[in-house]
């Protein structure tokens, strides 16, 4: 990003802070099955109400195939209340093969339909990158973090000079290793959590307020 563009972004941030722009728009990104919707649901359950969910979750990849937005989620942390618009995005991928869904027990027709919708979902997720104020990048801490999706999302946030918070999810699993994620991307803050079990959420909200508040 050139100096003029960077200056514009910085000026815009200062302007927004001075005039209290409401509800920074934060996208939840990551590869399929990293736990993005589980984290979104946990945030809504903690701050909006037990009956609110962002979407359904499944062990079959690409369960979320359309981005979903929840405006004005008020989160209390570090002695402040911040208001965020949260966008749960479909899992990013560079390949989608309907045979993978058939191996999970879906029929040929269901698999092809899911595959088509998943490709549309990825396109939607990529387009959302242009309209966000920051990103929560969810990684599965039982998996290798050096995936192209992670590299591309982080690169996009760095190029746009926008804040990023890495969430090392699934730390409740025995083979979880969040330290590997920290080692892979040391230039960004990282919080280990289990969105499913609610582990590490206080630290997550503190980091969220620090990054996006």
């Amino acid at each position: 990003m050139n100096m003029i563009k960077r200056f514009k972004v910085s000026f815009s941030k200062i302007f927004n802070k001075l005039f209290k722009k409401k509800g920074a728009c934060i996208g939840i990104y990551g590869p399929p099955n990293a736990g993005k919707t589980t984290l979104s649901n946990r945030i809504l359950r903690d701050w909006v109400g037990a009956e609110e969910t962002m979407g359904s979750v499944s062990h079959i990849a690409h369960e979320t195939r359309h981005a979903k937005r929840r405006n004005a989620v008020a989160i209390e942390a570090n002695g402040h209340t911040i208001s965020l618009d949260i966008v749960d995005t479909p899992g990013l991928a560079t390949k989608i093969d309907f045979h993978d869904f058939m191996e999970q027990g879906l029929s040929d027709v269901e698999s092809k339909k899911r595959s088509k919708e998943a490709t549309e979902g990825v396109i939607e997720a990529v387009k959302w990158l242009d309209d966000l104020d920051g990103v929560i990048l969810v990684m599965d801490s039982t998996e290798n973090p050096y995936t192209q999706v992670n590299v591309t999302v982080i690169g996009n946030m760095e190029a746009r000079n926008l804040p990023l918070l890495i969430v090392a999810n699934k730390v409740d699993l025995p083979n979880a290793d969040p330290a590997v994620i920290k080692e892979a991307f040391p230039q960004h803050p990282m919080v280990p959590v289990s969105a499913l079990e609610g582990i590490g959420m206080d630290s997550f909200y503190e980091a969220l307020a620090k990054q996006f508040g």
């Binding site: 560079t94 390949k95 093969d97 595959s115 990529v126 192209q148 996009n156 760095e158 892979a184 991307f185």
Partner: protein, 119 residues
């Protein structure tokens, strides 16, 4: 002799193209079954565009997408690096058809991949 075509593309060749040209070129070549190794990869916006266009090109039983791997950017965690937020440099990138190129191992400085002739 049967085999898989591997194209090693110099920075000079790719830098002459506009972003959309690069993305179009990569998708067209990969759809022909070629493996591309870019001396200097795409910038993050171009990588996102490539993902987007790949999704549009996916067709059941014809093309299931791409395998793309590049090294993560070298992080400058020094105080000066954080202050100036220096733009990360592009690094070597390997791209191929998802049904013929499989990543075996990847870390900060190594990409190990298996290339298969059978689709």
């Amino acid at each position: 002799m049967q085999g898989i075509q591997l194209d090693l593309i110099s920075e000079a060749k790719i830098s002459q193209m506009a972003s959309m040209e690069k993305v179009r070129y990569i998708i067209d070549e990969v759809r022909k079954g070629k493996i591309l190794v870019l001396e200097k990869g795409l910038n993050p916006m171009e990588e996102a565009k490539l993902i987007e266009m790949t999704m549009s090109a996916i067709q059941p039983d014809v093309f299931s997408g791409i395998e793309m791997q590049s090294y993560p950017a070298n992080a400058d965690t020094s105080l000066l690096g954080k202050f100036f937020k220096k733009q990360s440099s592009k690094r070597l990138t390997v791209i191929g058809p998802a049904n013929q190129l499989k990543t075996l191992k990847k870390d900060r400085n190594l990409i190990s991949a298996l290339v298969s002739a059978s689709k």
